[in-house]
């Protein structure tokens, strides 16, 4: 999952960015409204965390501009303004959620996760494909009842494929959703991640769940009976 954090406080950029990366998200950070709008319209983000008071272009104007361009990415507003009228204004401008500073980091992460889930039309935190089970809150995976230990990036890849189970997901889509600007992408980074994931998932059951569609991408689906 890829998140854009538009926040002018350098310290919050660092701490929230670190927390998101630690949670397995790919995170891009922007320090002002104009840059934030440019990034939001140029990349495919699952969630945008947007501060309201921003230099150059304020968060609400950014949000309105984004919605006017037809961008449906889920947006979580982050602001020091706590009045009901401020929250209503933010939500009416097109925000999907609103969090007042100071906030609990866990709550921010939970809300971002909920927004990611909503992006794939799911309301529960439990994904199951054949004998594969994923708890998206605890970020734990089981195959044939046995726990599978994954690295954050591998987990994010699996969760992304699971959210889109049955669909062919192209390599570029995976790159766009899982890798932020800080990762120097090499041509085989997705390929090696998929390979590692396949290896770990086959430990408990050798039946492959992730198939390669040559020239198209990857598909996670239950094996034919």
């Amino acid at each position: 999952m890829r998140v854009l954090l538009v926040e002018d406080s350098v310290r919050l950029q660092q701490s929230v960015g670190a927390a998101l990366r630690r949670s397995g998200y790919a995170v891009d950070i922007s320090g002002d409204g104009e840059d934030g709008l440019w990034r939001a319209t140029g990349e495919a983000y699952d969630v945008i965390v947007l501060d309201v008071m921003l230099p150059k272009l304020d968060g609400l104007a950014l949000l309105k501009s984004l919605r006017a361009r037809g961008c449906a990415t889920h947006v979580l507003l982050l602001t020091a303004r706590d009045q009901v009228a401020d929250r209503v204004t933010g939500l009416r401008a097109g925000a999907d959620d609103y969090l007042v500073k100071p906030f609990a980091l866990e709550e921010l992460l939970a809300r971002i996760q909920a927004l990611c889930r909503r992006g794939y039309g799911r309301k529960d935190n439990h994904l199951a494909i054949a004998d594969l089970e994923i708890d998206t809150t605890a970020k734990q995976v089981w195959r044939a009842g046995a726990p599978v230990k994954l690295k954050p990036r591998e987990y994010q890849l699996l969760e992304y494929l699971a959210h889109r189970a049955g669909e062919v997901v192209s390599q570029s889509e995976i790159e766009a959703h899982l890798y932020d600007d800080e990762v120097a992408l090499m041509s085989n980074v997705v390929e090696s991640a998929v390979s590692s994931l396949r290896r770990k998932l086959s430990a408990a059951n050798s039946t492959p769940l992730i198939q390669t569609r040559r020239g198209l991408g990857y598909i996670l689906e239950a094996p034919p009976q």
């Binding site: 406080s9 660092q14 670190a18 927390a19 630690r22 008071m53 100071p102 980091l105 866990e106």
Partner: protein, 478 residues
């Protein structure tokens, strides 16, 4: 509740009632006097006419009953009466209208020759007049008679006064009735008129009652108001405008304060939670920086509050201004060098002013700090001191490309920042308000001007001689 309308109604009714009562009493009294006088004159004329027909005949008092005047008195149902006494009290003649009744002896009324009220036996109310005279003899010959002695007679003439009393009673009833009617009509009309005439006042009161902290943008109508209310409405509008501005300032202050404190708290909290969850992300340097930033905000706010409330004590003593400015400038050397700025000082070396060195140092530090923070890099900050007309001026000039003329009036507002997003935490917009508050507490002034091209000059002015005044005027607003 005691309203103006009720008070006016009560007082108008009371006033009108009193006027009507006095008017009725005067009219009644005047009419009564006039009617009684007329009655008395008629009675006196009758008595005089009757006296002319009272004669003595051989020592006897006689009245010619054939005379027209006497005939009037002799009608049995007549309302006029007379009786003639000798002065010794013996009755000689009575009118037939008295029948078997007798008039009372006019004791005490002979001397006054006035009329008086009395009653006949049987209760008939009458008014009487008494005359004492010597009747002339009926026969002129008897006058010459040596034995004839003049007779002294007392004549009392009376008339039924029931008509007079009835007329007066009728008058009293008419006066009382009409007064009451006028009073009742007034009682009905006055509230109606007052309600209509006081409607603008009630509308004004109603509007004032509906004003709350959320509706301070409301203004009272001034068109079509009576002359007495128009100035009140106008003053209320002025007051509302000032109140609204004050509320706006307070709201803005609260918003700004909330933002200035919420942001570092949010930073601190997210850092702490990040460290707890992933200890390897620990960053104590950032925590310290946030704590120092919050400390700076709180310290400045407290200082501002203290100075604004006149709680600071000033110890005025001779202060060498160039020395103080140089010391303050040296403190900022590191930050100045980082921004590649130069300080250019032009101060008269012997310039000594009466001031509190601690507070003055705080002002100068704030002004230099402001210049270092907001000057464009690779520029020079000029500090020039001059003396003119017993007043010193200390001017701090630096480039401020981000400012325009419209920003200058806001420079001394608490938490004002050019950047609406309030990005960057080291300056919360409290330095200049604090410097101005401190300057005022020292009896100095601090002003700002923006000159082309983008040169901001902050000028601190104050007296260079000691004054008798121990304390500066107390600050009321910043």
């Amino acid at each position: 509740m005691n309203t103006i309308r009720q008070q006016l109604t009560r007082r108008l009714l009371l006033g009108m009632g009193s006027l009507l009562l006095v008017g009725a009493v005067v009219v009644y009294g005047t009419t009564r006097t006039a009617l009684t006088r007329q009655f008395d004159e008629t009675l006196r004329a009758q008595a005089t006419a009757l006296a002319s027909v009272v004669e003595t005949d051989h020592g006897q008092i006689v009245v010619d009953s054939a005379d027209d005047i006497v005939r009037e008195f002799n009608r049995s149902e007549g309302g006029t009466f007379f009786q003639v006494w000798r002065t010794n009290g013996t009755v000689d003649v009575v009118s037939l209208s008295l029948r078997d009744r007798r008039l009372p002896w006019p004791a005490g009324h002979l001397a006054s020759s006035g009329c008086w009220n009395t009653t006949l036996p049987g209760g008939l109310a009458i008014r009487a007049i008494a005359l004492q005279f010597q009747p002339h003899p009926a026969d002129e010959a008897s006058v010459a008679h040596p034995a004839s002695v003049p007779v002294e007679a007392v004549l009392v003439v009376a008339a039924d006064r029931r008509h007079l009393n009835q007329a007066l009673t009728t008058l009293a009833v008419i006066l009382a009735g009409s007064s009451l009617l006028v009073l009742v009509l007034t009682g009905g009309l006055v509230p109606l008129l007052l309600r209509r005439e006081l409607a603008p006042l009630e509308a004004l009161a109603g509007q004032a009652q509906r004003i709350t902290a959320e509706s301070l943008a409301t203004r009272f109508a001034t068109d079509g108001l009576p002359g007495e209310l128009a100035p009140i409405s106008s003053r209320l509008n002025d007051l509302l405008q000032r109140l609204q501005a004050a509320f706006e300032r307070e709201r803005q202050f609260s918003d700004d304060l909330a933002h200035e404190l919420r942001t570092p708290i949010a930073e601190l909290r997210s850092l702490a939670e990040l460290t707890l969850k992933w200890p390897e992300e620990r960053n104590d340097g950032q925590v310290l920086a946030i704590a120092l930033q919050m400390e700076s905000i709180v310290t400045r706010l407290l200082a501002l509050a203290r100075v604004s409330q006149g709680l600071t004590t000033t110890e005025v003593q001779p202060v060498n201004l160039p020395g103080l400015v140089q010391a303050a400038a040296r403190q900022l050397d590191e930050r100045r060098a980082k921004r590649r700025l130069a300080f250019q000082l032009d101060l008269p070396p012997a310039l000594t002013i009466p001031s509190d060195p601690t507070l003055l140092r705080a002002i100068v530090t704030n002004l230099l700090d402001n210049a270092v923070e907001y000057s464009a890099p690779d520029t020079t900050v000029q500090i020039v001191g001059t003396v003119q007309n017993h007043t010193f001026q200390l001017q701090f000039t630096n480039t401020a490309r981000q400012l325009d003329a419209a920003d200058v009036p806001h420079l001394f507002e608490r938490f004002w920042r050019k950047d609406a997003a309030r990005t960057g935490g080291d300056h919360a917009g409290l330095g200049l308000p604090l410097a101005r508050a401190l300057a005022t507490s020292l009896g100095c002034t601090l002003t700002a001007t923006l000159n082309e091209p983008s040169q901001l000059t902050l000028t601190l002015s104050g007296p260079i001689r000691f004054e008798n005044r121990q304390r500066p005027p107390h600050l009321t607003a910043i």
